[in-house]
Symmetry: C2
Subunit: 366 residues, 2 copies
């Protein structure tokens, strides 16, 4: 079966937009034309992705006044200083308020270009062209944009929705194995939080995904986006249930910040974080040891770390997690599984169990 | 007559908020309590204002977990780098998503603290406590926040509404004369764009305002805020008529950027900019020489510059104005008076008249 283009919709009233998923889409001029109202288009990409795909995108944008800005590649560059280079380019070329910014790259590029679109002249048009699995299934959908601060990940940003998402599945052919695995962490997350049938499908098809079977990848991307679109449509600004999408992320962000941005990939932190959340849930009596075993097993099969780095002490974890965005009036809340396909956002867990979880990995690592 | 507290409303649906205007308000605990939903409050101020008023504000905030961050004073510090100090403070003290940021100072502090509130954890609560005339009549109302870029003023920012504005008229007693004059530029602007009766009142009462007559100042602040609230309510995101509020600002921003931020005060740039707009309008046949004379006369009486600095050539003006936010698809638009109390936003003016206006000041200055 030849996969063809699928179109999903994120339903957010006047901010609604389509997600196009399929092979070869980033060269389709018609898709861009449909969603670009002005004349000027700035493509933001990075040093890894630009040599592979920038020319194709600029060709598809023929007829517009185009320009591009190429940023260094990596989470450690998601800073105010590097972000400012986008404004340097926009202003040097007199881009006005009706311009469109296109993010061509993974999650880091999407976050930086999206926040630049939110802030440039207080808001210009924005299109996501995600080229990693992680960006296609997660970061390009839902409007979260932002930058890191030395003291906390994604602490400076905006909710800002794109006009469309163009997910070209062929770009996954050039993705490094480590990046593919990082994306699978978010795919597995969707199964765990609300979609037990998808989790079971993933257990069956993980080898196909790792072998880059295009049919399996297309299915996993579309199903992930469907899950995300549904959750975001119900809670755009994360007043409640949207926080479920952060399963594994409080632990994961602490790892990313603690070891230094760029050392662990975001998806690697999420993979280990999901295992830590599962371990805490088991101590709470919310997961059977069989369920926990299934979770750790699939993370491991995906090629992801299943425990945090030994350099992070429990004390440091607690300090790093204290600035998590889910903290409310000083109280830490976590996303924790209560079975396969069911998770909750809660501050109502036993802190001795959290400490035991953190200490368990300390022992395991020494 | 003893002026008492007035309450105006900015009507923006679920983002509506009150403006309180009166003497002694910044010490009124009840006003803050009414608008702060969480526990944590960060006061952002500067080195000039903090020694005068910070303690009073912190005393009024007793009962909350308070902290403060003091920034250097001046337009030249409205940068990404200085802005980041607000996040340093928020994160070092574990401020969470339910915190409130209070801007205590003039327009620069309001812009920086407001944009920090818009961006911190993708949005926290915000209160404006303006302590300059300019901030009380203009920048604290309407939700425009932002930072300067080396290539253009206010180019990085957000529309982000406060939960309330607390304008304490007693703070004007400590304002330098130059700052008072800068605020009057924006006050005069309201008369010119839509309120001929107010313009006539200003011509009669300018000496009282310059002598800091509290009754006259209170009236001018409230009437300015009424004008602004009406225009903002009709066009929050500046899709159309809100741009009228930028009378004098395209020329003014070019002056501020061209001479280096902080050399000219914003209101001084606006004062000279209004005179330049009037000169262009007269050439268009939209203003009589009597009307133009009244405009230049009141700007001059207010103690403001009526022409640009001689260091800026017409060529440099054109280059600086080409990145104005009102530029659409490469075409410059300006706010131009068509009589006292009537202005338009238009790209439909004779560019020879613009060039003649810019050259007129070159000759005048040499």
């Amino acid at each position: 079966m030849q996969p063809t283009t699928q179109t999903l919709h994120v339903d957010l009233g006047e901010r609604s937009y389509p997600i196009y998923i399929g092979p070869g889409l980033l060269g389709e001029a018609e898709l861009y034309r449909r969603h670009i109202p002005g004349q000027q288009v700035m493509v933001v990409s990075n040093e890894t992705v630009a040599p592979l795909y920038l020319e194709q995108v600029l060709t598809a944008l023929k007829g517009f006044q185009t320009s591009s800005v190429i940023l260094p590649d990596g989470e450690q560059f998601k800073t105010l200083e590097i972000w400012n280079r986008i404004f340097d380019a926009l202003l040097a070329q007199h881009f006005d308020r009706r311009c469109t910014i296109v993010a061509l790259g993974g999650g880091v590029i999407g976050d930086m270009a999206g926040f630049a679109a939110a802030a440039y002249q207080r808001g210009v048009h924005f299109i996501q062209v995600p080229t990693t699995l992680l960006a296609q299934v997660d970061s390009s959908v839902g409007g979260k944009t932002g930058l890191n601060h030395a003291l906390g990940k994604n602490m400076i940003g905006a909710f800002y929705q794109p006009r469309c998402v163009i997910a070209d599945t062929e770009t996954l052919n050039t993705l490094e194995d480590r990046q593919l695995a990082a994306g699978l962490a978010e795919v597995i997350k969707y199964g765990l939080i609300t979609d037990a049938a998808f989790f079971a499908w993933l257990e069956q098809h993980l080898d196909a995904l790792l072998n880059r079977d295009i049919e399996a990848l297309s299915y996993a991307i579309a199903r992930s986006c469907q899950n995300k679109a549904r959750i975001v449509a119900a809670d755009e600004l994360e007043a409640g249930q949207r926080a479920l999408l952060n399963l594994g992320h409080t632990f994961g962000h602490a790892i990313e910040t603690g070891v230094g941005y760029g050392d662990w990939l975001h998806g690697e932190g999420v993979g280990a974080g999901i295992c830590m959340a599962a371990s805490l849930s088991q101590k709470q009596g919310w997961l059977t040891s069989d369920e926990k075993g299934r979770i750790v097993a699939i993370i491991k099969r995906a090629g992801l770390p299943v425990e945090p780095p030994s350099s992070l002490t429990p004390e440091r974890f607690i300090a790093l997690m204290s600035v998590d965005k889910k903290v409310v009036d000083g109280h830490l809340r976590l996303v924790l599984p209560q079975g396969i396909g069911k998770s909750v956002v809660t501050g109502d867990f036993n802190h001795d169990h959290l400490n035991a979880t953190l200490n368990e990995y300390r022992r395991a690592n020494r």
